[in-house]
């Protein structure tokens, strides 16, 4: 009798369990297989953020040494560029001009990625950007540590060393004035 009662209950239980496994498998499989659309490439996008900046230290193109952590208390613009990048060549004079004009308020730092150092120095001289402290990054690993995807890219850091803006693409003088300079003028 007990065996018979067990046999009567069993079909329902197994059906539910079997269907459960099937549904779970399909849901799991669909979740794993889909939803992985790659984002299309965008240019000149600005991302507002509030994250600590990675370390940035090393020798500079003019033979000195640089450590970003020593600039706490100052708004810093870190521009990632290369002399082989046409948009960077158009953008550098804007940065050079802002660096001269806002000296003491905003500090401009360059990261020359995978660049020939002589070419990079020549470009800085050509556009009058010698006031922009530039750290060479011959293998690009410093840029990767900053999550850089290409050149040019610009990061604006607040006084506490946190990244507040990340710009992918070229920045304009107007944008820098509205964001970096305003950040320096703030409390």
């Amino acid at each position: 009798m007990i065996a018979v009662r067990g046999g009567r209950r069993r079909p329902g239980r197994w059906i539910v369990a079997g269907l459960g496994v099937v549904v779970l498998t399909i849901v799991l499989g669909t979740g794993l297989g889909g939803g992985d659309e790659s984002a299309s490439t965008t240019v000149s996008t600005v991302r507002e953020m509030d994250e600590p900046a990675p370390a940035l230290r090393g020798r500079t193109l003019d033979g000195g040494s640089f450590d970003l952590s020593e600039l706490r208390g100052t708004v810093v613009v870190v521009n990632v560029w290369a002399s082989w990048c046409s948009p960077c060549r158009q953008e550098l004079p804007v940065l050079a001009s802002a660096a001269r004009e806002w000296a003491g308020k905003v500090r401009f730092v360059g990261l020359a990625v995978r660049d020939d150092e002589d070419d990079a120095r020549a470009l800085l001289r050509e556009v009058g950007a010698t006031a922009v402290t530039t750290v060479p990054d011959p293998d690009g690993t410093l840029a990767v540590d900053w999550g850089v995807r290409g050149v040019p890219e610009t990061f604006v850091l607040d006084r506490s060393g946190r990244i507040r803006f990340h710009v992918v693409g070229v920045v304009s003088g107007e944008w820098l004035e509205q964001n970096a300079l305003r950040l320096a003028a703030g409390p």
Binding site: A3, V4, G7, R8, R10, P11, W14, I15, A17, G18, L19, V21, V22, L24, T25, I26, L28, G29, T30, G31, L32, G33, D36, S38, A39, S40, T41, T42, V43, A82, W84, S86, Q90, V113, R114, D139, G140, T141, A143, V144, D145, W146, G147, V148, R149, G150, V151
Partner: protein, 287 residues
């Protein structure tokens, strides 16, 4: 035991062995990680459909250098993957679901299969027991077997379809030609516009991105193919009618073909983007 039952048991043992090998292959790491192995798990963030291991773009080369640096420091493959996710987001992974989820994809059917084996064993025992012999031939029991068998078939089918999709995606990413927008831009800078056109066309075949189509239109213009440039610019404008660069290339393409509408198109560009770097030159052109 009859031959039929022997064969059934043999089939079950073979299936269990195949499932075991599958689980082992999906989990086991065949060799210690190297730069290419880690790079194959990462997408090049500046490319279309290429991994860090395959891409010739500067950022992929930098990422490979970073992987080599971290491997030399003794970091594990999982730590390095996480390091890149922290900087580039989860989309940097070619397989964001990860090995753990893939293992689940194997284990779940294996668990379902085990349930069926258990059922089979129970039924086989009852068949040999005289007390329950009368139960085994009941329609309800047969119906139960049909449902379980159907469930198993559906489950295996679902896993097979998902597995095939995952395999196709990974094959597509590794077998993709050199479709690198940055490489094409470097070719443009070097004056090789026909080469850039070819690359942009291949990129667009896999990813109809409007910015890439505009680059193609511009490169076509530089290779004296204004009619094709006009087509490409118009394609962009159908989806993005206010895209100033598309109007610029369209206007220049129309102008190169002597079209009467060129001036109006370029004026519209100036209205939309008066501060564009090309605006001064275009003002001079349209007078």
């Amino acid at each position: 035991m009859s031959i039929r039952r022997h064969l059934a048991w043999l089939a079950m043992v073979v299936l269990a062995a195949v499932a075991g090998v599958g689980v082992w292959q999906s989990v086991a790491s065949s060799s210690p990680p190297d730069v290419a192995a880690v790079g194959a798990d990462l997408r090049c963030p500046a490319c279309n459909g290429e991994t860090v291991a395959d891409s010739g773009s500067p950022v992929a080369a930098s990422m490979r250098a970073s992987i080599a640096e971290q491997l030399a420091q003794g970091r594990s493959e999982a730590q390095i993957r996480q390091w890149f996710v922290d900087r580039y987001g989860p989309e940097v992974l070619t397989d964001p679901a990860g090995r753990e989820a893939r293992l689940l994809l194997w284990l779940l059917p294996a668990a379902g299969f085990s349930v069926v084996v258990l059922l089979a064993v129970r039924t086989a025992r009852r068949r040999t027991s005289p007390m329950s012999r009368s139960d085994t031939g009941r329609p309800a029991s047969r119906w139960l077997w049909d449902v379980v068998a159907l469930g198993l078939v559906v489950m295996v089918g679902a896993v097979a379809v998902v597995g095939l999709r995952m395999k196709n995606e990974s094959e597509a990413s590794t077998a993709a030609p050199v479709v690198d927008v940055q490489a094409a831009r470097a070719m443009e800078e070097a004056g090789d516009y026909p080469g850039a056109v070819e690359i942009y066309r291949r990129v667009l075949a896999g990813n109809p991105d409007p910015d890439t189509r505009l680059r193609l239109a511009y490169a076509l213009l530089r290779t004296n193919r204004p009619a094709e440039a006009e087509d490409a610019a118009r394609t962009v404008l159908t989806r993005h009618p206010r895209k100033a660069e598309a109007l610029l290339v369209l206007g220049l393409a129309e102008r190169a073909q002597g079209s009467a509408g060129a001036t109006a198109t370029l004026r519209r560009f100036l209205q939309l983007a008066p501060g564009h770097p090309a605006a001064a030159e275009i003002r001079r052109l349209v007078g």
